[in-house]
Structure formats: C-alpha cells, structure tokens
Amino acid sequence: MAKIELRAVSYAVPPSAAGDGRILRQVSLAVEAGQSLTILGPSGSGKSTLLRLCNRLIDPGEGELFFQGRPMFELPVVELRRKVGLVFQTPILLKDLSLRDNLLFAVHCCRKDSPGDEEALAKRLLDQVGLPVSILGQRPEELSVGQAQRLCLARTLATHPEVLLLDEPTSALDPTARLGIERLVAALRRDHTLTSIFVTHDLAQARRLGGRAAVLVRGRIVEEGPVEAILDHPAQELTQRFVSGNLEEGG
C-alpha cells in the first residue's frame, strides 16, 4: 500500500488572460512508505500545487488523494497535516514569534502532544538540521536565508511527520547553503521510516539527490523512473526538451 497516492488529480484556478487556469491535469502518482521521490519540472508546471494538495492546503477539483490507502478527506485535516509535513520554497518564519517559538510552533499549537522537556526537544531538532542551540537567542530577521530554511525544516520535523514534502527548499539559497540542505535531506532520506517528495527544477540537483523521479510538465506527469535514466535517456519528447533546456517557462 502506497504511503501517499494521487489518482487522476486535477486542479484549476479561475481562467485569466494568462491561461485557462488548469494547473494539474489527471495526475496519478504513488510513493511507497519509506521511499523518496523527486519531482522534476520547469517553473509553472504545477509542482508546488501538487505538494499543497498533499498537505491539504488546497483540495483538488477532480480526482482523489490517499494517505496509507485512506482517502485524505476522511482523515482529520490537522492530523493529516502533521503527518505530511511541508517545507516551503522560501523560508517562512512567523514574524511575531521568537525563533524558539517558531521552532516549537507545532508543539505549542497542539497541547495534547505533551512535549515533555522542551529544551531537549529544541536541541534535538536543531541538531538534526545542523544549527547550534545558541541561534535561538537571535531575532528572526538576523538569520541568513539558509539558516532560516534550516529552522523551517526543523520546525516541520517537530511534528514527527511520516511524509516530508520539500518544495524547492534550496531555490532561495546560495550554492553552499544549497549543498548543506541537500546533505540534510539525503541524511533524512536514508532514514527509511520517512517518506519524502522533493520538488526541484534543477537538473543537477535532481541528479545529486538520485533515486526515483517523476517529470511534471504542463500539469501532467510525462515520465517516471530512476533519475539517471530520465536525465540521460529521456523517453518522452517533453522530457527531452526539458532536459536539454528547450522548454519555455511554464511548460
């Protein structure tokens, strides 16, 4: 049974001058428990929308999403969101909270968790993303983008998610910070209790991440398979064009 599955999912926004508003078209995708998947596609192809659907920040117009074989809408939405954690493209710190309260936000917002020793939890979370505990003494605006993104990752891990969704988490970072986050994600992926979906438009990054990949172009999954095979021997014309850099923005 797949950990997370999309069956013929379509999503559209109201049509505008820019297009017909259709963002995802009949997307079917399954990720088994403990597996990691990279979703590769040009910007505007619907990658972020796909992850937002998995965290139920939005619901599909057509089709269904499943978590461990159960339709997502049957699960209490808060419980689902805590099991399917989402890290956004740009680090979004809650401005009115201290860094410590940002880190432990998910713990504080659900009291029934009974965190026990918050200090120990904070230290463990920061260790996991390679940040020193002393960083909690800083103000949110003092962090570099890379540090902020690490903190956001730790904040998501605080819910003990079973699935981790990463929406181009390094696109706002400089090359060094980017590699740092990639190494963290690689370490998390080696932990086979965690299922993860990593979204990127960066071919080199997809190659570094390795594993299985799916190519999303114009709201459709056009190809799926081992990432090397897709990058070196694309079977579909759209994949070939994307890999060779001949696909316009927006797919």
């Binding site: 965290n55 139920r56 920040l57 939005i58 619901d59 809408f73 939405v77 808060v78 419980e79 969101r81 805590r82 954690g85 989402l86 956004f88 740009t90 979004i92 809650l94 401005k95 009115d96 936000f105 998910a106 917002c109 659900c110 956001c152 904040r155 998501t156 819910t159």
Partner: protein, 258 residues
C-alpha cells in the same frame, strides 16, 4: 440638573448660517470649487439633525421603553449599513455588523444601567446609545479593513501555520491582533490626551447647559470609559466573527479577491 439655560431661538439658528457664509466667501476668494459639497453638507446636517430632534422629542414625550428600543435598533441597523462596506468579501457582512454593534451596546450600556452608574431614563439612554454606536461603527470599520489587509499580506505565514497543523484561530492570530490593536489605539491615545487640547463633547454640552464643571467632568469620565468598553466589545466580536470566514471547513485559507 437645572433646565437648559441656553435659550436658542430660530433667529439664532438662522444667523448661524453666517458662519457657513464665511466658509463660502473664502472658497470663492480662493476659487476653490467645492462650494457645492459645502452646501450639500450644510443642508444635510441641518435636515438630519432637525429630524433627529423631532424623533427624540417624540420619544421623550411618549417616554415608553419599546419606542426607545426601536430607536436604538434603528441606530444599530444604520450603523451596520455603514460598517458593512468594510466587511466586503465576507459572507453575511450585514449580520456580522449588527451582531457586533448590538453586543457593544448591550454590554457597555448594560454595565452603565445595571450597576446604576447612570439612572435608567430615556434622556440618558438615547444619547449614550448614540455615542456608543457611532464610535463602535468607526472602530469596527477600521478593524475589519485592517483584518482583510493583514490576512492578505500575511497569506504565506497563515498557510505556513496551517501546514503545521495550527487551527485557523492560531494561524490568524497575528492578523487578528493587528486588527484589534489598530482599531483600539485611537481610543487609547485619545484617553491619554483628553482635556489637554479640546474639550470633549459630553462635557461641553453639560457646561453650556449650566452644570457645575465637576459634574460635567464626572459625566465625561464615565463616557470615555463607556466608549473604551463598547469599542473593545464591537471590535473583538467583529474580528472573532470575521476571521473564520477567511477559512474553509477543511481549514484552508480562501483566496482573497479585491
């Protein structure tokens, strides 16, 4: 309290148009073409207040509670109509404004009359209800407008909080707080400088009606605390009702369209 010692005849009223005239003359000298609006404003204020005078005169002369409640109800409805413009995009904005203004009126005037702070009589009830509702309309409008702006600007933060499993109440907390603060700060700041620059209305009225200054001051103090209470009730009720409608039953943030 002595009967009004200020005898204002119709001739006084007619002569007061000289003051409007001074405005019109200056506008004419400046060649500023807003005299049309000045005339409309002058006539509207004249007519509206004369009509209000007759209505209150009627209600005082009948001196029956049901009529007073009808008048207060009408003030709430008219006030809700004004505040509703700021509640655009929300479902049932009319109901939301009526509920908030009614809560503000009931709670604040409830305290005033139940504790006997002011004697329960029509000549106190009607003016106090008027000042409460008038102020509450303004603060409610400010807060609803601000809530909308905050929810729009903080969209990413609200969704980040939701994605971590926060309930809408918590995800919208910074926006709710900003909206409440923005609406109440003018009242709070006003309390700090009251009496230093301009003489507040209730006190002015009592002084001119011949009351001893300290009596006038006591009433004014009660009125500002009354407004503090009623403004807070209106804003908190309005925001607590309004923020929910930015979310779907599945705890998703709805698109905010202009």
């Amino acid at each position: 309290m002595p009967e009004t010692s200020l005898e204002l005849g119709n001739s006084s009223l007619a002569l007061s148009f000289l003051l409007v005239g001074s405005c019109l003359i200056l506008l004419w000298v400046e060649r500023l073409r807003i005299h049309g609006e000045v005339i409309v404003g002058t006539l509207r204020s004249f007519l509206q207040l004369i009509i209000l005078g007759y209505i209150i005169d009627f209600i005082f002369s009948v001196d029956q509670l049901p009529w007073m409640f009808v008048m207060i109800g009408a003030m709430v409805v008219v006030g809700a109509h004004t505040a509703r413009a700021r509640a655009r995009g929300l479902p049932r904005p009319w109901l939301l404004c009526i509920a908030s203004l009614s809560a503000a009126t009931l709670v604040s005037l409830g305290v005033i009359f139940l504790f006997g702070i002011v004697r329960f009589e029509g000549r106190y009830l009607i003016p106090l209800a008027g000042i409460v509702i008038g102020n509450a309309v303004r603060t409610l409008s400010i807060s609803l407008d601000r809530l909308r702006g905050e929810m729009k600007n903080r969209r990413a933060e609200v969704e980040a909080a939701l994605s971590l499993g926060a309930a809408p109440h918590l995800a919208a907390q910074p926006s709710r707080w900003a909206a409440i603060r923005a609406a109440l700060i003018p009242s709070i700041d006003g309390m700090k400088i009251i009496g230093l620059v301009q003489m507040p209305g209730a006190m002015l009225g009592m002084l001119m009606a011949g009351a001893p200054p300290l009596e006038a001051v006591k009433l004014q103090i009660i009125v500002i605390y009354l407004l503090l209470s009623s403004n807070t009730v209106a804003v908190v009720a309005g925001i607590e009702l309004a923020y929910r409608s930015y979310f779907t039953p599945a705890l998703q943030l709805k698109p905010i369209v202009d």
